[in-house]
């Protein structure tokens, strides 16, 4: 009856999202009077999960699962949920987890509720809060199915340390990915992805052209940040679509979001609204972004950003 999580990993290391999912599941387990079990795939060291409330780990080691494949992964999570008789399964809101979650929901005859930002308001009936209308609203949702699949919104619940004693056991589910084949993966290994970043630096039309993007990239490098852009910038082909953040692009929920030369259209603001702290640099003091930001600098990006980079370098060297 434990709460089951799928603890995501990359090349054998647990992702930060796995610890947030564990923290959240521990909160749910406490409310239900049960414990948290984690499923891991090809991760050898799972001990850190014990710092976030996981008391049991089902460790799967299988070369057939090296590449993420939604059908195969949803099937092994299903088998783990059945073995544990779990009534609640918690996943992250990563691209892969959101790919597998609906398949898992159908297999377990469970409702799938995504973008969840709170622990259950009550467990009987089971009510959680999620975001809707691209962060323009919250929606309380009552889940009526016996088994429930919850995708926690990234960086919403945060990490909560709860040390518990942890035991791991090997788990060998049957693996069946069907006829779909992942042929190749193209992933920049030297860059932080928008999904994993603590800080995102984003540029808009105010940068005047793709040749000036070194300003955004250099600022991102100093901060260990991912780079992003506004919709017009991706539509004009200055930057790839994968960097477009906003309502029809990627949602961003980082600790710090720095917008340079972005006016702040409602669609853009919706997409980045879940970020904790927002900084805007813009020449136009009337830009709507100033109403949505925590800190603002009215000034020319071409003057402000190089100075900011130098000052941050000095700050980083002493802190």
């Amino acid at each position: 009856m434990s709460v089951l999580i799928y603890a995501e990993s990359d090349n054998g290391s647990l992702r930060k999202g796995a610890f947030e999912v564990a923290s959240y599941a521990k909160g749910v387990a406490d409310a239900l009077g049960t414990t948290v079990t984690a499923l891991t795939v090809n991760v050898s060291d799972v001990s850190e999960l014990g710092n976030y409330g996981v008391s049991k780990v089902l460790q799967v080691s299988d070369n057939a699962l090296t590449k993420f494949q939604a059908k195969a992964y949803s099937s092994i999570i299903e088998q783990a949920a059945k073995a544990e008789q779990s009534k609640v399964v918690v996943l992250s809101s990563s691209t892969n987890s959101k790919y597998a979650a609906p398949l898992l929901g159908v297999a377990l005859n469970a409702a799938v509720v995504s973008n969840v930002v709170s622990l259950p308001k009550s467990t009987s009936p089971f009510v959680v809060e999620r975001t809707a209308f691209t962060n323009k609203a919250f929606q309380e949702t009552q889940i009526n199915s016996d088994v429930k699949v919850i995708c926690v919104s990234n960086n919403s619940y945060g990490l909560k340390e709860t040390s518990v004693s942890i035991e791991a056991e090997a788990f060998s589910p049957s693996v069946n990915g069907g006829s779909l084949e992942v042929v190749s993966i193209d992933k920049a290994t030297d860059k932080v992805s928008i999904a994993d970043a603590e800080v995102v630096v984003s540029g808009g039309r105010g940068l005047k052209g793709p040749e000036n993007w070194h300003l955004i990239e250099d600022l991102a490098t100093v901060l260990g940040a991912a780079t992003a852009c506004s919709k017009p910038v991706s539509d004009m082909g200055w930057r790839p679509h994968s960097e477009h953040v906003g309502q029809t692009g990627k949602p961003v929920a980082t600790n710090l979001y720095i917008a340079v030369g972005i006016s702040g259209a409602i669609q853009h603001l919706a997409g980045i609204n879940a970020s904790k702290v927002k900084v805007v640099v813009n020449t136009d003091p009337e830009a709507p972004f100033f109403k949505a930001a925590d800190y603002g600098v009215v000034g020319d990006a071409f003057e402000v950003v190089p100075q900011l980079i130098e000052k941050l370098k000095a700050f980083k060297s002493t802190n």
């Binding site: 892969n96 790919y99 979650a101 609906p102 398949l103 929901g105 159908v106 469970a110 409702a111 995504s114 973008n115 009510v127 809707a132 209308f133 691209t134 323009k136 609203a137 919250f138 929606q139 309380e140 949702t141 009552q142 889940i143 009526n144 006829s179 779909l180 084949e181 992942v182 042929v183 190749s184 993966i185 992933k187 860059k191 992805s193 928008i194 999904a195 994993d196 539509d235 679509h241 994968s242 029809t248 692009g249 710090l256 669609q267 609204n273 904790k276 702290v277 900084v279 805007v280 100033f290 949505a292 925590d294 800190y295 603002g296 600098v297 009215v298 900011l308 000052k311 941050l312 700050f315």
Partner: protein, 248 residues
């Protein structure tokens, strides 16, 4: 190839979001509705398959009579037939089951839905639909080619992309990248006139089950005002981010 494109009827991206009936219903007052952007990218890609490879393209929506202008727009863009399942959606499973019923009856090779609708942002329907149809599934799809019964798709992943080969029948959760923004079509007068004569059949729901229900809505607390820092005093900004916001 028979293609079915699933269409959500959603508030325009510039809409102000308000609620009525004691915060239990979305307030449609003064809101204009559009084809869900993620679905429109899929529909536009389907038109490419129609024009280059002779595919037939049907569109389906689960919704009340108020969604028909949105469905007619899909016909004006070039879809051949439209189906409306006459029911107000209750949850993802309900919609997926109703779509699955339509997809099974029509014997489609390729079903294209948007990655998520921009109203409730569930992102669950395409995957549930694929599971109910026991079809292959590619989510967050940014490129799709089909030759005979085999498809090559590119899926966006966190920090990159991956290439997938899959056989039909296939369900796609699509997004921008399937086509470019500049490829989107504004219906012309001829398309609009033709759309009036194209079949829009209304079918009753099969009585699918729901597993969840929205109980109430709320809006984020209003934001405090911005702290402005002079462009000549960026040390102050760094200080605030470090000591006050504690993010660097």
């Amino acid at each position: 190839m028979k293609i079915l494109v699933c269409i959500s009827h959603v508030p325009d991206t510039t809409s102000k979001i308000n609620f009525t009936d004691d915060d239990t219903k979305f307030d449609t007052n003064g809101v204009s509705f559009v084809i869900n952007p993620n679905d429109e990218f899929g529909l536009t890609r389907a038109m490419w398959f129609k024009e280059k490879q002779g595919a037939s393209v049907d569109v389906v929506n689960v919704g009340g009579p108020d969604t028909e202008p949105t469905i007619r727009k899909c016909l004006a863009i070039g879809a051949d037939n439209a189906i409306r399942v006459n029911a107000n959606p209750t949850d993802s499973l309900f919609v997926a089951q109703e779509l699955a019923s339509v997809a099974k009856n029509g014997g489609y090779d390729l079903v294209i839905a948007g990655r998520e609708s921009i109203d409730y942002n569930g992102g669950v329907v395409p995957g549930m639909l694929a599971a109910l149809l026991d079809a292959n599934f590619v989510n967050t799809c940014i490129s799709l080619e089909v030759e005979g019964t085999s498809a090559t798709a590119i899926r966006e992943i966190d920090g990159g992309k991956e290439t997938i080969k899959a056989t039909l029948p296939l369900v796609i959760g699509g997004q921008k990248g399937l086509v470019e923004e500049s490829d989107l079509r504004i219906p012309n007068m001829r398309g609009i006139m033709m759309a009036r004569k194209k079949p829009l059949s209304v079918v009753e729901p099969t009585g699918s089950a729901s597993q969840s229900e929205p109980s109430s809505f709320s809006k984020p607390a209003p934001k405090g005002s911005v702290t402005l820092v002079s462009a000549d005093n960026l040390d102050e900004l760094i200080n605030l981010l470090h000591k006050e916001a504690k993010v660097i």
